[in-house]
């Protein structure tokens, strides 16, 4: 349905996106995962015909979007990362404005506004000025505006940034519902791993402009199927402890954070006793030891050596 073919974008000396290939089929929710600055926003701007690529093509139903953006634009709904609303207008006035530019009018517009307000849970606040809304309500309206013209494809650029958990859940449920009830195709970018795990059928992972992994959730987790992660916590670490861990022949990798260390070891290895001994020798008091099955977060760590929110 929608394809990115060898897509690259260069801004002066910065290669924001490098030879990215991706596809999205009708009715699926695809996650685009990566830390800030990975190139996700640039990639979706090119995908939605807002930015012209330096190289490559975007194809919608086998036709070039760069040459003919109109067919895609007709069916696309865009939820930008910013709150793209008039903050001095009410929720209803915003919906009316954006509905009108999509040529909706009269009863059809009114009906659509009622429907969207209901879907995003803002019917009671329709007459309130947007700048009086909480961050979560603004985000919901931001999504509502993109739903006005019943798009077949919804592109959502980090739609839950900076909001409370309740609004976040509401948004995630709304996306699931739209996909389920209206068979809406969704491209969802985020740096929250749990959102992508909850929503998406397939996942693309980007880092520093490159696509570093892709597949279903299970396929991606299988990248780490031969390993397990041991998560240890303490109030402090020292160099002796970290060096000893890294030198242990059974340890594949050690990822150190402020109060946590993740140790990747082969699945069959039981290093519990040797871990306790290393800690005692280094004078480290461990608060907890937890053995985890790999998550997408671990996959990202494995692929890039960095945490997603670094």
């Amino acid at each position: 349905m929608l394809e990115l073919v060898d897509l690259s974008k260069k801004f002066k000396q910065n290669n924001a996106v490098k030879n990215v290939n991706m596809f999205i089929e009708k009715g699926e929710i695809v996650g685009l995962l990566g830390p800030n600055g990975a190139g996700k926003s640039t990639a979706i701007s090119m995908l939605s015909s807002l930015v012209i690529p330096t190289k490559g093509d975007v194809r919608f139903n086998n036709k070039s979007v760069i040459k003919h953006p109109e067919p895609l634009r007709r069916v696309i709904g865009m939820v930008p990362q910013e709150i793209a609303l008039y903050e001095d207008l009410t929720a209803e006035e915003n919906l009316k404005f954006f509905g009108r530019i999509y040529k909706l009018k009269g009863n059809a517009l009114k009906k659509k506004i009622d429907e969207v307000l209901d879907q995003i849970g803002l019917t009671d606040r329709r007459k309130d000025i947007v700048k009086t809304f909480s961050g979560g309500m603004k985000r919901r309206l931001n999504i509502g505006v993109a739903m006005l013209h019943d798009p077949e494809i919804m592109i959502m650029d980090e739609p839950t940034v900076g909001i409370d958990p309740q609004s976040r859940n509401y948004i995630l449920e709304t996306v699931k519902r739209l996909n389920h009830e209206k068979q809406m195709t969704v491209l969802y970018t985020s740096h929250y791993m749990e959102e992508v795990e909850f929503l998406c059928d397939r996942i693309y992972i980007m880092d520093q402009g490159n696509l570093i992994a892709s597949g279903t959730k299970d396929e991606i987790k299988r990248i780490l199927s031969a390993e397990k992660a041991i998560l240890i916590k303490s109030n402090r670490w020292n160099d002796t402890f970290i060096t000893s861990l890294k030198q242990d022949p059974t340890v594949n990798r050690v990822i150190v954070e402020e109060k946590e260390i993740t140790i990747m070891v082969p699945k069959e290895i039981n290093m519990f006793s040797s871990l306790i001994r290393i800690a005692e020798d280094a004078g480290i008091e461990l608060n907890s030891v937890d053995i985890k099955t790999p998550t997408l977060e671990d996959v990202f760590l494995h692929l890039t050596g960095r945490a997603l929110r670094d």
Partner: protein, 372 residues
């Protein structure tokens, strides 16, 4: 769809009219106070004659006839007292062939009084030279020469009609119009610029991206925004002029409607200049920092604060040639003060329109190129 954008803009304007009200109010207050439109049309200038004959001479007569300044004869002490008390900005000590200015407050009036006095002494010297050339020695002979001169001046052999008001000979200084036009054209720069600025903010916020993906055409988005900015600016000056015409009672020399029509090219050029400035800025903070610098500089070298005719610096005069405010003042003063016809004002009107087209073209091109 363009109507939809205009409606949204109007709603936003009505929800936040504060800036518009402030700039309109400031234009009116400044024009009323500095322009002296409320009963302060003539400026009082105390003068003291060191030589008593000066008051009865041609110089005294010339100063009496001046409309803009009211020269009051008094003793030296009285004059100094008035200046030190702040009752007068400037005074003058007049001698037979020379004069001294006593300046209390350095203002535009100092230069203007100086120019008036210089004119009086220059003409006096010319007169004396003519009398000497005519060989008149006695008082009666002098009177005869003067009478003949006056009758010759009354029916000249040929007359010269001056069409360029840049010439110092034909310079008319009307304080009310100077301040009214100056402050109106100055403050409207802010109103227009702050109405164009949302284009930059909406682009940053993704509102424009949303519109680009919709069926609305990009040219419609620009036209709707620029038409709105134009009308916001025009409305501000219209309100100011209406207040001065019907409340303060300033007669635009019977050419009120023409003044309103001839305002259009200036407002258009400022809309275009604003979009050009917006295209050069990366964010609203940069724009807010640069706008006062640009607007005040334009007012200073464009003749909004003081008449451009008193500016002598070649550099400033050269800069004024690329300043829309210079031509805006030329057009409005031309129609209301000098009584020029529209044909005679075609040059500044054309320059304003040309500037508008060039700035608009460059501004939109840069905005699109930079994808701001």
């Amino acid at each position: 769809m363009m109507i939809g954008i205009l409606q949204a803009k109007c709603k936003l304007f009505l929800r936040n009219p504060l800036l518009f009200v402030i700039f309109t109010g400031m234009s009116i207050v400044f024009a009323l106070i500095i322009g002296g439109a409320i009963g302060m049309n003539t400026i009082h200038v105390p003068v003291y004659a060191e030589n008593e004959t000066v008051q009865d001479s041609f110089i005294g007569e010339y100063l009496e006839e001046t409309d803009v300044y009211q020269f009051s004869w008094m003793t030296k002490d009285e004059m100094l007292e008035e200046i030190s008390n702040g009752k007068a900005e400037v005074g003058a000590v007049l001698q037979e062939f020379d004069y001294q200015l006593i300046v209390g407050v350095e203002s535009v009036n100092t230069a203007m009084v100086d120019q008036t006095l210089r004119d009086a002494y220059m003409r006096n010297i010319q007169l004396e030279q003519m009398i000497t050339a005519a060989g008149a020695d006695t008082g009666r002979e002098r009177e005869n020469v003067l009478e003949e001169l006056q009758s010759a001046m009354a029916s000249p052999v040929f007359t010269i009609e001056t069409t360029s008001f840049r010439s110092s000979d034909s310079f008319i200084y009307d304080n009310t119009f100077q301040s009214l036009f100056g402050f109106s054209l100055f403050f409207v720069i802010y109103t227009i610029a702050y109405n164009v600025l949302p284009i930059l903010i909406e682009k940053k916020d993704g509102i424009w991206d949303r519109m680009i993906l919709s069926p609305i055409k990009k040219w419609e988005m620009y036209v709707a925004n620029l038409v709105y900015s134009f009308f916001a600016g025009y409305l501000q000056v219209l309100i100011i002029f209406l207040i001065f015409r019907f409340w303060v009672g300033v007669d635009f020399n019977g050419r009120f409607l023409e003044t309103l029509v001839l305002l259009i090219p200036y407002v258009f050029s400022i809309v275009a200049l604003s979009i050009f400035l917006t295209s050069l800025m990366k964010n609203a903070e940069q724009f807010n920092a640069i706008l006062p610098i640009i607007a005040v500089s334009m007012a200073m070298i464009g003749g909004a604060y003081w008449p451009i005719e008193i500016v002598e610096s070649e550099i400033l005069l050269a800069l004024s040639k690329i300043n829309p405010l210079t031509y805006g003042m030329e057009v409005l003063q031309g129609v209301a003060v000098y009584g020029y016809s529209i044909e005679e004002l075609l040059l500044p009107i054309s320059i304003l329109l040309l500037m508008g087209v060039v700035f608009m073209g460059l501004g939109i091109h840069l905005m699109e190129k930079r994808h701001v």
